[in-house]
Amino acid sequence: MSGEDANAAAAAIEFRKVVKRFLHQDRREESFLAVDRLSFEVAPGEMVAVLGRTGCGKSTMFNLLAGLLEPTEGEVRVLGHDPFREFDWFRGKVAVVFQNDRLMPWRTAVENVELGIELAGKNAEERRKIALGWLDRLGLKGHEHDYPHALSGGMRQRVSLARAFAVNPEILLCDEPFSALDELTGQRLREEYAQLVRENDKTSIFVTHSINEALQLGERILVFHRPAQIALEAKVAGGDREAIRQRVLAAMNLRDAEAEAAA
């Protein structure tokens, strides 16, 4: 096993003192610090929930992880590789579920699910079989040939989940995918999501601003404060959930109070 492979086996995801600054659009010389020396690791097969208030840099961290942004400083490693510089290497290995369903309106449900596998190079027959299987599994049998506008919000988000799982990725990244759904639909999809991740042994990072969602979907919770830095790391599995909830709440409030005092 090479050193790189050994590293990948040790941590599926690794952030090492990552900094991300954005230039203000109108004032090019000034910058906005979104992520500040962020370091954490996620083990293979682990489900981690990233929790933080709006604007704390969760989505920036998410985009760094997805390889859509390049760190200003520090290093991001996913499966031992750089997601931004080695962009193509991750084809078929990482899938993302976004806050909104992001379905292509010109593709039917089944064609949307096929997108990732199509881009990974699978032939038409095989990808149709996989896509239909996932739609069936997520309760969308009978809606395979519906266009997104004909589906409800919950059904569309199910299609986007199917699209991500259909790739059979090693790593699954989710950015508040159920936040726009009603409570009942959101709860049902959270349960389905957790079951699918466990059954398929995926490494998963789930970004959310809901403590309940983090407790339900994370074996470990990382609480972020602004700019993105870890305020608290709490192991959920086997722990007292109420005690963890109080610690998480305290961490979020404490950091907010510190930030206000500093301002």
């Binding site: 985009n63 997805a66 390889g67 859509l68 962009f87 193509d88 991750f90 084809r91 078929g92 990482v94 899938a95 993302v96 976004f98 909104n100 992001r102 292509m104 309106p105 010109w106 593709r107 039917t108 997108l115 990732g116 199509e118 881009l119 990974a120 266009y147 506008h149 004909a150 790739v167």
Partner: protein, 255 residues
């Protein structure tokens, strides 16, 4: 959308009224000003029954297609160059804006001086007059591409070819079809001017002949041929649009 053969009652009545007014006018004015409607219809049918006349109409159609295709292909390239690079946009956009401001007749004069043969002249005129609209409309469609869909597609790590095929092309198709519909009308007007000045065949040349013969019925018949051609192609594009954009939701209530 109604099929082409199911014309609205209002359309039939409106056009019928025009025909009627024209026919009444023909009773009070000389034939060279207002020829009777049956005479125009007869000339119109003669065009379709005479091979040489049909060849003239075909030549014009071919010139319109050739000019629009050249402008479309060049327009797509320029739209992508501008869309992908802000620096290129700053250079190319003012040039296209300038080209758009040049009158069609000026392009005709320039083409006559620059080119020797009829066909290169007409191709040049057609391309120059329709290129800016193609470029701007395709650029607008490209820029209106959803950032969310772009990021989602990128998250699957597509090759550049796959990104174009799966996201960019379906995004710009509606803009392309609109550009074709708009430019078809422009092209049909410009081609007649170009043929009128420098060609020895085609609908524009035939119009020139009718003018020299003082034959209003012939002039109107040839004009109707061009209008019929434009309406027919627009119907084809509308059908294509209906098929390609079938995924769009429709509502029972109009705005």
């Amino acid at each position: 959308m109604k099929p082409w053969y199911q014309l609205r009652k209002e359309t039939v009545l409106g056009l019928g009224a025009l025909v009627l007014v024209w026919q009444i006018a023909s009773y009070f004015f000389p034939v060279y000003l207002f020829p009777p409607v049956p005479a125009i219809a007869e000339k119109f049918l003669e065009i379709f029954l005479d091979q040489e006349s049909l060849a003239n109409a075909g030549a014009t159609a071919a010139r319109i297609f050739a000019g629009l295709t050249a402008a479309f292909l060049l327009g797509v390239v320029l739209a992508f160059v501008m869309g992908r690079s802000e620096r290129s946009y700053r250079y190319v956009y003012p040039l296209l804006n300038f080209i758009q401001g040049v009158p069609a007749l000026s392009w005709v004069v320039i083409a006559i001086i620059w080119f020797k043969g009829t066909e290169p002249r007409i191709l040049f005129i057609m391309t120059a007059t329709t290129l800016p609209a193609f470029s701007f409309q395709i650029l607008d469609a490209y820029r209106a591409m959803s950032k969310d869909l772009f990021e989602m597609t990128l998250s699957f790590r597509p090759s550049k070819r796959d990104l174009f095929r799966t996201l960019i092309l379906p995004t710009i198709v509606p803009g392309m079809l609109t550009a074709w519909k708009v430019n078809l009308g422009n092209a049909s007007r410009v081609v007649v001017v170009a043929e009128l000045v420098g060609a020895t065949g085609g609908i524009g040349y035939q119009l020139l002949m009718q003018q020299q013969l003082f034959d209003m019925a012939g002039a109107l018949a040839w004009t109707l041929v061009l209008v019929a051609f434009v309406l027919l192609v627009q119907q084809v594009i509308t059908r294509l649009e209906g098929w390609l954009l079938a995924y769009r939701p429709s509502t029972e209530r109009s705005a």
